[in-house]
Amino acid sequence: MTSAAPARPASPPAPPARRAGFGHVLLSEWTKIRSVRSTVWSLILLVVLTLGITILITAITSAQWNKIGAASQTQIRLDPTNGILGAGLQFGQLTIIVLGVLLITSEYSTGVIRASLLAVPRRLPMLAAKGLVFAAITLVLGEIVMFASFFIGAAILHSHVPVSLSSPNVTRAVVGGGLYLAVLGLFALSIGALVRHTAGAITGVIAFVIVAEPLSSLIPGPWGDHIHDYLPTVAGRLVIQTARTSHQVLSAWQGFGVFCLWTAALFVAAAILLMRRDA
């Protein structure tokens, strides 16, 4: 096909070999993320699922308002923001979990990790850049989705429970929803980097989010409350609550802080193992 030409036709006189900067690695990770279709689809699914579930739940609530009973009515009046955002977030977050895990495990399953680490042999900049780029994407998209969900849901519920961004704690809750998604993405990415296998890592994160939560709420008394509140995603989602419940041990921002600490610990563990393990 091609003649055995030397490898440098018209290549520039090699620029001085200075160490490639972190900016280059960030750009490279951005290219990796945007050049795979599963990223785009996961993010579209995040928007569709979150908005869809929000519209569905608030529309049903609004239509059935007189039939849902006094207890439910009181609960929604107490914290309408959580009522609007909670369900959508519960489903939408699954797409972030899957995407966060896949970002790193797909490199292991396809072997791209070797190419990545040959290009960035100090390894840590690669993981850090991946985390930063992904967190930036999920933060921007998460905020857009959370604000959109809030405005749509608030409009649907307006005749029964009027709520606006100026109501107490509401802006914090809506902004917090986007922050929660960004940190959740890093949480999933870290577990993916630790486990290195797609199925195992997704199962691991889902176990935290879907299994541990209801399990811990079965533990009675203050012990149960503590364990429940300190679970990573439970703690993280306290930030979208505008009213504190009687069982709640942590405040909204405390809870979010606990979630960040979990994530930071997992990320550090992932980074250490990345440096030490054979690729």
Binding site: T2, A17, S35, T110, D278
Partner: protein
């Protein structure tokens, strides 16, 4: 230049690379040979900093791989062909690699044209044939216009045209003064490509010499003799100072054996002398064929003691197991202790 010093890597109880030392010089193609499981890929991964050694060092131009300021501009590597995200296009795969080193976008297009993937650069790499994937891997290796190339089994999966292409490419790169380190388990492929050979078995160095030297030292000449009267002929040959072994009939491509004749592999005497001996002893000969040991034979003899997977003791009975010939004495005990004639195929 690549230098390995006392490189050691264990996976659990299994020693993959065992105190391996060698130097790969620039300006020539250095073949890295060994049977499957000999530790070739592991050695390359140690050189490239992907695996961490339990002992020893590997340096490229005097530095550990991870200390290279802009690694892809110094070293180009091809490890396994299908190390590409199946959903990403060839162009984007090369683009993200180029971006880590601050290489311009046009360099990506250059290497794509160079390896002949221009028409499929925008297609998802998951649909590539093995040969196309291999070309993409070569493109990635050449991206930074590196002085050192490390290629693990680059001809795997390529069609004859592709094999010729990569052979010429490697020679051209070496002729430009670059260091080309290429592994293979196919001796014949290396014979036509490599100027220098590093042979390992069970993670240990078996030979480190020029290809010419390797052939000259290893390929012992032998003569295949068929006779219905092997005992008398063997006695005559032994008396004249030759060595006789019964050749494996089944492994010999010489065709059906005429009634009752036994094939002997004779070393140490030329064919003409054996003919004279047979005539003097009045022994009937059915065949008298001088055989030049091929490189493949030499390779198999040399590594017979160190085959990781396969039937033990099949080619040229392992004489002294676990006693590798020291570099520079390639032919050593392994070759002398076995009969090349008709045994190794």
């Amino acid at each position: 230049m690549i230098e390995a010093r006392d490189l050691t890597k264990r996976f659990g109880p299994k020693v993959a690379v065992d105190h391996l030392s060698f130097t790969v010089e620039p300006g020539r193609v250095t073949g890295f040979l060994g049977p499957n499981g000999a530790g070739k890929s592991t050695t390359m991964r140690l050189v490239l900093g992907l695996d961490l050694p339990q002992g020893g060092t590997a340096t490229i131009n005097g530095r550990r791989y991870r200390d290279l300021p802009s690694p892809l501009r110094t070293v180009g590597a091809l490890l396994e062909a299908r190390a590409v995200h199946t959903g990403r296009s060839a162009f984007n795969h090369l683009l993200f690699l180029a971006q880590t080193q601050g290489l311009p976008r046009r360099r990506v297009q250059e290497v794509i044209d160079l390896v002949g993937l221009t028409t499929v650069a925008g297609k998802r790499a998951g649909g590539f044939s093995l040969g196309m994937s291999q070309r993409l891997g070569i493109a990635a290796a050449l991206l930074g216009d590196p002085q050192v190339l490390v290629l693990d089994e680059p001809v795997n999966g390529l069609d004859p045209e592709g094999i010729l292409w990569i052979r010429n490419l490697m020679k051209a790169l070496a002729a430009e003064g670059r260091t080309v380190f290429v592994s293979s388990h196919l001796m014949n492929e290396m014979a036509v490509t490599a100027d220098h050979l590093i042979v390992i078995g069970r993670g240990r160095l078996i030979a480190d010499c020029s290809t010419q030297e390797f052939i000259a030292r290893s390929a012992e000449q032998s003569v295949l003799v068929r006779t219905p009267d092997p005992d008398r002929l063997a006695a005559a040959i032994t008396a004249a100072g030759g060595n006789v072994k019964v050749a494996d009939e089944n492994a010999d491509p010489g065709g059906p054996v005429a009634g009752g004749a036994t094939a002997l592999g004779v070393t140490g005497l030329p064919a003409a002398r054996i003919g004279e001996l047979a005539a003097a002893a009045s022994v009937v000969l059915h065949e008298l064929t001088p055989r030049v040991g091929s490189l493949e034979e030499a390779f198999m003899e040399l590594t017979a003691d160190s085959v990781e997977y396969g039937q033990p003791g099949q080619p040229g009975q392992p004489g002294q197991p676990g006693q590798p010939a020291v570099a520079g004495q390639a032919a050593g005990p392994a070759a002398a202790g076995s009969a090349p004639g008709g045994q190794d195929r």
